[in-house]
Each structure stands twice: as C-alpha cells, then as structure tokens.
Symmetry: C2
Subunit: 195 residues, 2 copies
C-alpha cells in the first residue's frame, strides 16, 4: 500500500532494538482518514474470504477493525483483551502472548459469548514481528472451533519469523507494508507489494 | 439517544456491584454501525465546539473516537495509555485513575508530542461513573496547556458523582444515555435526554 509506505518513510522513527515507532498516525495518535484507507485495502484483499466477524487485539487493533468493518457491510468485531494478571477468567478463551516491544507475557482473552463454531474470522492487527499476538488470536479461534479465513497485518518486518510462522500454521497472511530492512539512521526498505 | 437506550435495555446485563455490562456491542464485541451513529450524535452535540483534536483512553474509547472523527472532517485522535507500572515515562504527561469496575489504580499517559497549547480538545469516553478516567484526561490537558472544549460520554450513571465532578471542574459534559437507576433484576431507567 503505497500511501502507507510513504507515510512510514515520512513519520516513522526507528528506535534501538529494531523497533519501528509510528505512533503519530497508527497507535497513539491516529490518522483516521488513513485508517479508513487501510480498512478499504483490507476489504480489497479479503472481500472474498467469507468473513462473518473480525477479531483483533487491544489496543492498537481496535481502530483498524472499526475502520475495516464498514467496508464489509458493518461486520461486528471483537477485540481480545490483554492482561498481565494470571487469574483464569471464567467463560473466556485464553492464550499467551509475549510482547515484542515490551518482553512481557500477556494472557489474551475473548469471552466465549462472542466467538463460536459458526464464525468465519478475519484476524487483523497492526504489527507482525514474531507473530505472538496473531498466534494467540489463532489459538483462541481454534479453542472456539471458529474458522480463520484470513490474517491481515498493517505492517510486517519480513526478516522476522512472524509471517512464516502464521503461514506454517496454514493461514493466508496479507500485509499492507512489508519492511525488508530498516536501520537506525532512518533508512527503511520495503518489499514489492503482492497483489 | 433513543437508539442507544433501546440497545442498552435489550442487551445490557446488570452485574453485582452496580456494573452495567454492555460488552456485546460497545466494549468487547463492537457494533460498528451503532458506533458510527454514536459518532454522528457526538458531532451533533459538539460541532460548534471548535475541537481540533479528540482525546480518549484505551481501550474502550478508541472505536468511539475513530467513528466520531470522520464527522468532524477526520480530526486526529489520541488515545491515552493506561499502565499499572509506576515507572515515570520520559516525555509523557501523566495522571492517575482508579478503575471503577476493577478498583485498580492506573497511570494514564499521553506523549508530549501529541498534545500541546494549540490543541482544542474534545474528550470522549464510554462510561462516566465516578469520573476517574475523564478527570485524568482533563488533568493531562491541563499539563499540556491544551484547552478542553467539551467532554462526551456514551453512558453515564447520573446517580454517581462523575458528571457533577467534571462539571464542577468547569467543563461541559454531554451524555448519550443517562441512567437514572438500575437494579439487579434487569430494570434500567433513563433520564430525559437533553437537547
């Protein structure tokens, strides 16, 4: 997605530890027009998926899911909750996720009320690095016997294992901005887009 | 907002501890069409406020801010981050908030990059009970010397101190569904709407 790549080049900051900070338009301050364009692009990529529900994870996935839903005729979305507390929730599916940027293990939860074997689920998230968050959402869908019909990420660092990990689980992964390399002097190189 | 009151009556669950659970359309699973209608209503109420930025708080405020922004010509929004960790962030405004439903004290943070004295801020959130979250956002705006031009909440329990607390700080508060009383047998009574 050219518009997104240009924006990442313009506003992205590369922090020590191979962290790309794009919190001035994606995950702290949000450019809501760009978010709609991201939603429209996810619709273009997944419109034939048969999705009946969007699943994402707090907090950064929420605006993405809200914006994308409209293009799918206002599909409901569910955002998984992350907690550091280990107490088992009654009536929830649970999985573990280790945060890439914070190196903390979270428990990821979705209420059993909002995911079941009739759901065809499109999973959306902001970043795909090691695939921890997306994997936790897939595990939750498996617990619910819901079918995952696609996985979309706004940004992916393709030299990290996340994309391959999700594909190896058997799922289609679509990414809007595929980062091939980045360096602390601010250079970001993108891969050619897939169709 | 009649549509919202009807939906709360239909889908709301009242839990022990005076907690209204509406997580099947507002803050776990999200009805994105209703969210747009909420956004349109906030625009109707605040269109003359002169807002240049929307400020909300993760996670439940994000979809509300995303949906509302469009009606204001795609104003950017910022979502404050909540953390239980007490470590002072560099380069962030901070305030404290005690969660009504969880009775945990959070540190609420907004990067100094995204709020300053030129901003006219519309604060939006999902629930107004004791006013802890909204107060924390106001304190952050004061630290930034940003002007708060209005405060909107999707739901308010008017028998709790939040609304008066925010008004006493000198701010206009608009609420879409004003709950006068609710009981554990499922009865919810709403106040007359203001114009």
């Amino acid at each position: 997605m050219k518009l997104l790549e240009d924006r990442i080049r313009k506003d992205g900051k590369i922090l020590p530890g191979d962290v790309l900070k794009i919190d001035n338009f994606l995950n702290h301050q949000v450019d809501t027009k760009l978010m709609e364009e991201i939603g429209e692009e996810f619709y273009r990529l997944f419109k034939d998926s048969g999705a009946t529900k969007i699943l994402t994870i707090e907090s950064s996935g929420i605006a993405i899911a809200q914006a994308t839903s409209k293009y799918f005729g206002y599909l409901p979305f569910v955002f998984a909750k992350k907690t550091v507390a280990a107490n088992m929730a009654k009536n929830a599916y649970e999985a573990k996720e280790t945060s890439y940027t914070r190196n903390i293990e979270y428990t990821v939860q979705v209420s059993r009320e909002y995911l079941n074997e009739n759901d065809k689920v499109l999973i959306l998230d902001d970043f795909l690095a090691n695939g921890e968050a997306m994997n936790s959402l897939i595990q939750i869908c498996r617990q619910a016997n819901a079918e995952v019909v696609g996985c979309g990420s706004v940004v992916c660092k393709t030299y990290q294992p996340g994309e391959k990990r999700i594909k190896d689980l058997g799922y289609e992964v679509k990414v809007l901005a595929r980062i091939k390399s980045m360096s602390e002097d601010g250079q970001i190189e993108f891969e050619e887009q897939e169709e």
